[in-house]
């Protein structure tokens, strides 16, 4: 019972803190709308880059524009959700440096909920909207023989993908406790990860694909399940059911990230202000 209520309490606290940040950003409505549009435009540049490439060629690594757009839409939307929920965690390094992290530790609220909701930025809906638009277009444009399993896989990919990226954010936050200034390392895995997944796996070296499947299982965000949906061979030899393995992979990632977070918190030494 104790575990469960702590979780509910954490969620409630997260909602309260996030709500506070939303209210504060709503004070300047025009600024909010502009920054949200800017956020969508900025993240959309990645897709513009892909469109520019396809203005010169008909396929990239053997994948058509609609197929690459499907990868892009899934990756960008899943990452956008994780970015909205936990994306402000890179301010944690600053909090540790200036000592305000201590305040979070003495409050009777789970620290992860406080850190996750810190600087909650609703403008990140811009990225989700932009990713969802590309996803919607690609779903209409790809040539797929839709079955019930394939239809179901689309929302499953989005939710599991968001959970996998959330795990990366939490692990990155735990890493920041150890090396406060090196917050940028996690960008290589978060922003770098979503960029990697926007391109067909056939483009990359086998070693890189293997690393993104077994070491940091980003391939389960979209590469593997989307290959199943498109009726393509998996990027590396995997059994048929691997397309449906994203949810358990996501759960395992979150569990590992949770462990990393706990041990990170235990290792925390205050700057002592």
């Amino acid at each position: 019972m104790g575990e469960r209520s702590a979780f509910a309490e954490g969620l409630r606290a997260y909602g309260l803190i996030a709500g506070m940040w939303v209210r504060s950003s709503m004070t300047y409505r025009t600024s909010f709308v502009i920054t949200m549009l800017g956020n969508g435009t900025m993240t959309g540049l990645d897709f513009v880059g892909i469109l520019l490439m396809f203005s010169q060629v008909d396929s990239l690594g053997g994948w058509s524009l609609a197929e690459v757009a499907l990868l892009y839409g899934l990756s960008a939307t899943a990452f956008g959700i994780a970015d909205l929920v936990l994306g402000s965690m890179d301010v944690m390094g600053a909090r540790i440096r200036d000592g305000s992290f201590d305040t979070l530790l003495v409050r009777p609220v789970p620290v992860l909920a406080q850190v996750g909701a810190d600087h909650f930025a609703l403008r990140r809906l811009g990225r989700i909207t932009q990713g969802a638009l590309v996803l919607g277009w690609s779903l209409a444009a790809v040539d797929v023989d839709w079955s019930a399993a394939k239809v179901l896989l689309v929302p499953v990919m989005l939710v599991s993908g968001a959970a996998i990226f959330c795990a990366v954010f939490v692990a990155g936050a735990a890493f920041q406790i150890l090396v406060q200034d090196a917050a940028e390392v996690q960008n290589a895995f978060t922003y770098g990860g979503t960029t990697l997944l926007q391109y067909p796996p056939s483009v990359f070296g086998k070693e890189l694909v293997r690393g993104a499947t077994f070491m940091l299982p980003l391939a389960f965000v979209n590469w593997v399940p989307a290959s199943y949906v498109l009726g393509r061979p998996y990027p590396i030899a995997l059994p048929e059911w691997a397309a449906f393995a994203s949810p358990p992979v996501a759960v395992a990632c979150c569990a590992l990230a949770g462990l990393a977070w706990r041990s990170g918190l235990r290792a925390y030494r205050s700057t002592g202000n």
Partner: protein, 266 residues
């Protein structure tokens, strides 16, 4: 009168300020390297599909990627250099102190940004570039003169980059909040500099337009000079003209701002 020594001191200060954060620099090196690897593979696939796109062969495309990663922080392509501090100082009113100083505002910030650029280049940019040269085939020149010309284009690129961001920062005198303009800087910088795709690989009329905009002076010109794809005097002239035009515009805007705007105070 030796006022150049003042600006050298400011530049040294800018250099040392960024040099202080070693872990952050190492993290930046790592991130640029990872992004470089991802981009290289996508470019190789693209050039596989369409050899000689934009007049580059595969080795040149790879070189372009790693030069882009090298210059990303150096030229603050998505913003985040001196203009960020300047906007903050305008917003808080601390700019009044800067205006009192017996130094030229624009030169002061130029010097500070040059120091930052030099550190980001040496501390953060060179390692991903060397990594790329070791692990991927690159098209690097062997003549010393080409490298020397390349260094000059880098210097000019840094000045043009600063001039663009300085103009943007001055808008804070009227807008107060720099958030929107920072976002605009980021979007235009990332798109028009060619960090997404080399400008000479842009299709049709769009390609012609982006190659004459000032952002073409940042990455495209140094890359083309390094790889012998463009005439050196032409590249110098292109960059120098934009540098002079933008710096002059900055001066005009600066004098308008300092004459007409009431400084925020508290």
């Amino acid at each position: 009168m030796g006022s150049w020594r003042l600006y050298v001191a400011v530049a040294v200060g800018g250099f040392r300020r960024y040099a202080t954060y070693r872990a952050a620099t190492a993290a930046g090196v790592f991130t640029n390297t990872v992004f470089g690897v991802i981009l290289v593979y996508t470019y190789l696939a693209l050039w596989d599909e369409k050899p000689h796109l934009g007049g580059y062969d595969q080795a040149q495309a790879v070189t372009y990627v790693w030069l882009g990663q090298c210059l990303y922080a150096t030229l603050a392509i998505q913003g985040g250099g001196a203009e960020k501090d300047l906007m903050d100082r305008i917003r808080t009113g601390e700019i009044a102190v800067d205006l009192y100083r017996p130094a030229d505002l624009q030169l002061w910030w130029l010097a500070s940004d040059m120091g930052r650029s030099l550190f980001q280049m040496v501390g953060r940019g060179v390692i991903p570039f060397l990594f790329g040269a070791v692990f991927f085939p690159m098209a690097l020149p062997t003549e010393v003169t080409t490298w020397a010309a390349f260094l000059v284009t880098l210097l000019l690129a840094a000045v043009v980059s600063f001039a663009i961001r300085y103009l943007a920062a001055l808008s804070a005198f009227w807008l107060m909040d720099g958030m929107g303009i920072s976002q605009a800087l980021m979007i235009t910088g990332v798109f028009f500099s060619g960090i997404v795709l080399p400008l000479n690989a842009f299709p049709g009329a769009l390609g012609d337009i982006v190659q004459v905009l000032p952002w073409a002076a940042l990455l495209q010109m140094p890359a083309d000079v390094l790889m012998g794809e463009t005439g050196v005097p032409g590249a110098f002239a292109f960059q120098a003209v934009w540098a002079v035009v933008l710096l002059a515009a900055g001066r005009l805007l600066q004098s308008a701002a300092t004459r007409r705007v009431v400084v925020q105070g508290g």
